[in-house]
Symmetry: C2
Subunit: 201 residues, 2 copies
């Protein structure tokens, strides 16, 4: 049994873009499996009394994030083009589609990476149905996935993931869990994998 790192992300989360693009390579190196868990930060922020992203509520934090993302994308060799629409995007539709792809196809993580790439590498608005349609096509998934995402079996899973995230003590994204052990932030991705490897021995 390979140990599993659960990767919790919101498709509108800037720092989750960094992790989504590098987590599978890190997992491969360490012989660890990754479980991709899309959730929504909105309800978690709301439970903390925030009506918006902390990057909008606290301008100094927001300015820092924009600059920090520039530096980190440059260091990782990732393209960065900010969408012209306000951040964070409404990611509900993208998250439902991602869950449908993760649950019913073998291209779920490909779709998540493509959505991140189009949003932060090309500046597309992921709240726009056309963007999601294009993402599906680029990874070779069928339009039928929209229907699947809205099905009574799959639609509740986004709420369930978000509730699980909150129960796990998650307060931001990306987060990583190994059992009860929680790591927050792209810069703790390596520490999460170190933990998973140590648990394995």
């Amino acid at each position: 049994m390979r140990p599993t790192v659960t990767f919790w992300f919101d498709l509108a989360s800037t720092y989750s873009y960094l992790s989504a693009m590098r987590i599978e390579a890190e997992a491969e190196t360490r012989g660890i499996a990754v479980s991709w868990k899309p959730f929504l930060l909105g309800p978690i922020f709301a439970a903390q009394g925030w009506s918006n992203s902390p990057f909008n509520l606290y301008p100094a934090k927001g300015r820092y994030m924009l600059r920090d993302m520039e530096r980190r994308c440059a260091a990782l060799g990732l393209p960065l083009q900010w969408p012209s629409t306000p951040l964070p995007a409404n990611s509900i539709r993208a998250a439902r589609l991602a869950i449908a792809a993760l649950e019913t196809t073998d291209k779920g993580s490909d779709l998540c990476r493509m959505i991140y790439h189009m949003q932060f590498g090309e500046g597309a608005d992921i709240a726009d149905a056309d963007t999601l349609q294009e993402a599906l096509h680029r990874v070779g998934l069928s339009d039928d996935l929209h229907q699947v995402a809205r099905s009574p079996e799959l639609k509740p899973l986004l709420r369930a993931n978000t509730d699980q995230a909150q129960a796990a003590g998650i307060f931001g994204a990306p987060s990583f869990t190994i059992g009860d052990e929680l790591f927050w932030g792209d810069d703790h991705l390596e520490a999460a994998f170190d933990w998973a490897v140590a648990k394995q021995d």
Copy 2:
């Protein structure tokens, strides 16, 4: 001229303890100078509308910090014993004393490290005058420093540092600046030094 990394810290900040204990070794390795800048997070949090530390306002964040500090202290080989008094401690007196030591002696950073060690390595309350007295003695500084700290020349410097921190866009501690470039968090200490080295070339 060696480039300088400015190290911004609040003596009550848990994550700043990690940086204080390792920053000079990192600086030595890279041939970089460190400028120690004590400031107060309180007024900066207040300007963001927070009446308390985010670790107290947002319990999930607070619980995470306690666990994360345990893991990181273990990884760095640093002792960790939480004070029995509520966090964060009132650090005004400690910060004034640190500024006096930094400005008028060559043991300023020794005193800062000792205050952190007593607080988070031994569980002492740094708002307690006896703790600060003991810290002075342990690093071989004179009691006269209390007077110096309250002098009209030095007393305003803590407010000035805090104003400077806010003007630099600082919203948490530890932070590191190289010119206008800001890095936040102990886990970005290396990135700050990388930046300082690159600027040097």
